[in-house]
Symmetry: C2
Subunit: 218 residues, 2 copies
Amino acid sequence: MNTKTSSAPSSRTKVRRIAELANYEKESLYGIIDEAYFCHIAFSDGENTHCIPTACWRIENYLYIHGSNGGRLTKKLLTGAQTSIGITHIDGLVLARSAFSHTMNYRSAVIYGVFEEVKGNSEKMHALDSFMEKIAAGRKNEARPGNEKELAATSVLRISLEEAATKISNTHPSDKEEDIDLPVWAGVLPLKIRRETPLPYENKNIPTPEYVKNWANA
Amino acid sequence: MNTKTSSAPSSRTKVRRIAELANYEKESLYGIIDEAYFCHIAFSDGENTHCIPTACWRIENYLYIHGSNGGRLTKKLLTGAQTSIGITHIDGLVLARSAFSHTMNYRSAVIYGVFEEVKGNSEKMHALDSFMEKIAAGRKNEARPGNEKELAATSVLRISLEEAATKISNTHPSDKEEDIDLPVWAGVLPLKIRRETPLPYENKNIPTPEYVKNWANA
């Protein structure tokens, strides 16, 4: 697998706007996906274009989603609709001395392609186990596993990460020469997704798992 | 303005999946937008469907975005492309006793419509001032304002919030009757966007503004 793609894998993944922030390396893409619990999926149903959020996770070079068999999103995606998937993390507001030089720090990924169905019970279970592992390492050995009926009612879909681009902005304020000495505070107001104190629910004599004890980082 | 719409404003905003979580009230929609610094915009350019992140803010019943005149996104949106916009906040991972009852807490909004251009320098400045006010209240009176050249190089677009739906999940674990007594820890692992300590950049004798002093809530 080529993990050092320095050019856009296709015309539609070529970043045009502030192109020097573009990055086509797999490490950046994987990092952005692995930190995300959800993505937004854009697709057309022939009549309308939609932008629908759904949970996601990654195994190797594929992004996975799941849903009820009866769900509109998974049904539409399985018709072979071309999709585009957006995942964005915001890291801060960049306050420059001039209004128009304000910007944001962020990491975003856009993926293009077509979803395929993950078939076969063991393949589906493997994929769903990976999702559980992402949510809480080790929990797949504790929670009651899905039975055949639950598995049959669930669709698992995946899309290749071959055609994707990331854009990363991690900067301090950058003002024009003539604005640098203006008496205006400049700096970054950082934002970060934090894990807050777990909220146990009706646990009678059940020891707290390590992944719960270690959850909060606030 | 009707702020209490209890039914879907259109067929395409009607939430099908777990419909009891759907909410068509303006207060929910406004709250989700006002907490967000960016959105994902889905649109088709006739050839491909795209899902592009961009900064956003709200004034009354419109969502605003801005961009360079030369930018692909704003140019495409101004061709009258039907768009769908997704904004999602994740609030926690909900760990149930059975694997298939795991879920997430979130607040999401999906908006449908067509963008229009905000024309006229005073209208554009008013919109951009509102964006600055969202980022840092009062800063529009401190930062060097945009000049005519900067303003002319910037497109401001807005889309009506009339056709939108929100979906909000704020729940504790919910297991099937037969799973409730399983010896598996249940609860919520909360996630929250936190404001971290500001990072000043080359401020010589410039007093720290109140909105910077009050930024961090960690």
